[in-house]
Symmetry: C2
């Protein structure tokens, strides 16, 4: 094919996509820093349900940008989330990426305990400090995070809570909202690794711009 | 939280999820090997639109399983697709994973030409043979693949065509369907890296079972 009318410039593709999304969504209640995040979720999924599903806790954008600029570590529950994060931007901010779900000791411990690797990876990743936590896949990882935060073992500067699925995903996200931790959440069943990554990418762009 | 009623066993989570999906979808027109693929897409996205959107070309499951059992290489357009593929299953089948989008020479060539890295990565990956091609992100990569196939430079055993977005994604997938290449396609704007990976993962399970 390579038809001559196919747009091949990535910046032009993105700009046109954003214009289409702006036009189709029309009016909304997000502020000028929330909307670039939601728009990028729609850009990643082509799913306008996220306009209604996406919730920001009070002042969470300020807290997230502060954490990024302080170079806090970024934890993620799956390798796919890590793969989707813009590494150039992350390095420029000085943030380390931590993902333990594929570590052999995590897999062995999860098998032995009969629980998800995500739970064990979350336990391994915790070192008592602050950080940005991205949960794109596993409700079990989000529940474990809430448990650790309640116990004072972690002090999240931001929790991106967007696990996907039919067993526990929606409930885990409501539990996150009730926890009053700084969070960006896509309520309901929908979510996923690509959404977790795209939210962080959108925040990193905001951190560079502001 | 770690509430006692939270299901933490991954196999139990998957089984319950599949039962919920089966129940909510009810009757459908997919055969006994297509449905596990579609069901896994829904499991990955929590989006029932994929029941209507997902299209299989004639005999594509046979062709895909044949390619997997012959150990043909698997090409993917983004690192996220690669990250989502089950490496244990891929290694058991003897298939190599090829993804060039993050190669420095690909990025430099794309910048110089003003085109997407996906196009350059697709060009670099092509070595004239057969293979399984997963396009989860970039319509430009899919158009380039169709161009190369038409020119006889590649002979795809399977094209998973699920790019996502607002500029060219839907059109590129219609072009794939018109090409009559063996394909699994999610028509319209929706798609994504997680879907491309999950389709291959579902096919690898079928390849083991049959």
């Amino acid at each position: 094919m390579s038809a001559p009318d196919v747009i091949v410039n990535p910046l032009e593709i993105e700009a046109r996509s954003f214009a289409i999304i702006d036009g189709e969504v029309g009016e909304h209640a997000f502020d000028f820093r929330q909307w670039p995040v939601v728009r990028r979720i729609i850009h990643t999924t082509a799913d306008f349900d996220f306009v209604a599903n996406t919730v920001f806790s009070p002042q969470v954008i300020d807290k997230a940008l502060g954490a990024l600029r302080r170079g806090e570590p970024v934890y993620c529950d799956t390798a796919m989330v890590g793969a989707g994060i813009n590494k150039v931007r992350l390095a420029a901010l000085g943030c380390a990426l931590r993902c333990h779900v594929a570590d052999p000791d995590v897999a062995a411990a999860a098998r032995a305990a009969g629980v998800t690797r995500s739970i064990m990876a979350m336990r391994k990743g915790i070192d008592g400090g602050c950080g940005i936590f991205l949960v794109g896949n596993a409700p079990t990882a989000l529940y474990e995070l809430l448990h650790q935060a309640r116990a004072g073992a972690i002090k999240p500067s931001l929790v991106v809570g967007v696990p996907v699925g039919f067993v526990g995903a929606a409930e885990s996200k409501e539990a996150l909202l009730e926890s009053r931790l700084p969070s960006i959440v896509c309520r309901g069943r929908k979510g996923g690794s690509a959404i977790a990554a795209t939210i962080l990418n959108a925040l990193m762009i905001l951190a560079e711009e502001a």
